[in-house]
Amino acid sequence: MEIKFSSIKVPSSLIPHEKEEIDQTKQISEYIYEAVRNSDVIDLDIDEKILFIYSIFTSKLVDNVLENSYSYLYGLKGYKYLSGDISIVLSETITFATLHTLYDVKIENILPFRTVKYLGTIADALIDLEKELKLAKELETESGLLFINVRAAMSPRSYYVVDKIWKSILNLELVRYPDNYGLISLLTRDKETLKESFIFITPQ
């Protein structure tokens, strides 16, 4: 299946953490949203068969991700409601499939935590960069932990997407700050295709 892909890097120094700073996390989320919308897009071909494999790491007991992805891809919504469970499972699956396709990330190096997110102090998944050289190279490092937050926004309303980016930053910073790496993986619908956006947060 062919999807659109783009990525940007956000230095963590832009994100406020200190009492002396004003909380501008929301405004920064708006800038990130604009940057994602305007960043260069590439076509990414994902072997749809691997989506079945990455269902290992999804947080909800939902199968048939491939069939569901095509309903979104072809815009076959009709008179029905979009399902949040399906869109998040789809986003989780495509996140890991993208990491495999672009960065050769190995299954044994992925730890999913979305099922214990109620703790309030953990992201959705973790990859140890020391074991994933290609991904580490993308982030210009050799070590560190990459905490991933997975999001899906199938509605085109911008405030809705900004809100998701904002919540992701707050969530990621809890575990990432100050020295580790963050990734907000955002799946959206872009006309007749799915668009996967990687927003990397790098320590600085």
């Binding site: 494999i53 999913p112 973790l126 707050l170």
Partner: protein, 164 residues
Amino acid sequence: MNCKNLNKAIVMLWVGDSKEAEEDAKECMNLLKEEIPNLRILIKEAKIEAESEYLLPKTLREKGLNPEDLLKLAMYELSRRIYLFSGDTKSKERSGVIYLWLDLGVKKILRGYCEDCYGYVSTLLGSGFVVMVDGVIYAEFLGTDEDKAVESVLGAIKGHRKNK
């Protein structure tokens, strides 16, 4: 990082080998359980102390809670879920491949794991397909029996095994 078998436990659950998953999860819980109560107390305190949500990361660090500590709590909780909800073992084994056979009538699904497999295989079979990534296998068939399905999966991954 502790609990290096936690990822394996998740894969084992997916192929229906609950016993193996439970053992790995139990090991992780035992490794971490002594530290967990104190971590929970510190996190609770930090949440009360932080005046605003954006200040919580720094407050957590000031309390001595680093990312590794938060990770320990998450790994403990995850292994606890695996341990509690793993259910019955439904997997089988053949030629070093642990697999789960799901007969849905019109469609049959095989999920598998092979310790000595590596790389990536993706191929169409006569009446279905098989895909293998880093030892994890998924295959679908229309109208075949379990024995033939396992045979064709073994055939498809043959070139990607260390112990030939």
